[in-house]
Point group: C2
Chain length 226, copies 2
């Protein structure tokens, strides 16, 4: 579903060069639920943004659903992202002037697709936002904003979802509800989820865990509960 080959991403030059990604080759298969763990600053968000076509590599390539992102025009890249990829940002990136519900429905609107009403309602109830739909982000708690970001990525049923620390601001109960729903989405709808997390409990729900440090993959394991 998503693959990186020899991915490198550098910032700055000379003495100040930061090797955010320092040669990453990894393959996420269709229908897989993978977790990425690693220290703060190890390159997790950078890897996710490059895999989702939100950022370009300095070297190497990314292949999404068989398409090499390297050659694509801005227009084709945008279309690919809009139709096939969902992204839950570490900082949520909600539209401040739209309500929770409008934020959740935005990807479908932008893709000019109808969306499955029953599914959208299932997502809203799974993340527990039923009575917060008409509030704007500034009128929501941190965890409620995070759940809007989660719902927005799930509602349009994209083929692959990149989730950057989707439960970081949730109490253990809301967090496990989100994780269990994501597990369902992979098992029942054959979607692919790649989730960055610092929480071993969250990682345990995935099929495999990839460990990053200093921009490289340093370890990998089948999930102990898979």
């Amino acid at each position: 579903a998503a693959r990186a080959e020899g991915a490198r991403k550098t910032y700055g030059k000379g003495e100040n060069t930061v090797h955010a990604l320092d040669g990453v080759t990894v393959d996420f298969k269709v229908g897989e639920f993978a977790a990425i763990m690693g220290p703060s600053g190890s390159g997790k968000s950078t890897l996710m943004h490059c895999l989702a076509g939100l950022d370009s590599l300095t070297e190497g390539r990314v292949i999404i659903d068989g398409t090499d992102l390297t050659g694509l025009s801005d227009k084709s890249l945008t279309t690919l992202r809009r139709d096939e990829i969902g992204f839950i940002f570490q900082a949520y990136n909600l539209v401040p002037t739209l309500t929770a519900e409008e934020n959740i429905r935005l990807p479908l609107l932008l893709a000019n697709r109808k969306g499955d009403e029953a599914w959208i309602n299932r997502v809203i109830d799974a993340v527990g936002l039923r009575d917060r739909l008409h509030h704007k982000p500034s009128e929501l708690s941190g965890g409620q904003q995070q759940r809007v970001a989660v719902a927005r990525a799930l509602a349009s049923q994209p083929k692959i979802i990149f989730a950057d620390e989707p439960t970081g601001n949730l109490d253990s109960r809301s967090g496990s509800e989100v994780l269990r729903f994501m597990r369902k989405v992979v098992d029942e709808l054959d979607q692919t989820i790649v989730m960055v997390t610092h929480d071993p409990v969250a990682a345990a729900i995935a099929d495999r865990i990839v460990f990053l440090a200093d921009g490289k993959i340093v370890d990998e394991m089948r999930s102990p509960t898979a």
Copy 2:
């Protein structure tokens, strides 16, 4: 150090009324390290903002270091906050145009105070940001931004620090380093820390844990490790 009496905070009216705080009376003593836990949306951030004078109550009062915030002019409130209170925001609220170091030093600059250079350097190393000081927030990882927010609140040695989920985006090692440093700050410098957290491991480092649900305090316990 900080006390709320019969605190109520309501949003909206009629059917849409949200009782974010529904009658909270709590007392945080000088030199105490207290944790606040509770479900997403239960009022934790609202309580913290009202205790820190960043938001007003609908009913009840807040007393900081002996001063009732209710009567204060904007100017006096700003001066009190600047001189006595440090706040680590759930969404960090860093200044995007300033570097990490400038963000960390900003409260001292605004308070027109010199600050203790040795202390500031100790804080920077405790949160592990030594080689990230000249980067702007957009050039930092999520966890690095969170650590800038932590360092900013600690650097000016305020009497009381309100920390809203200070380790939510940190891996367990960076997170425990931040927590251990906060514990030191309370033990060695007699500062007061009130920390919201969803992580029981983080809460265990505090002296006492207060539990919030639906805008009310529902339980309280001496920390199991205190």
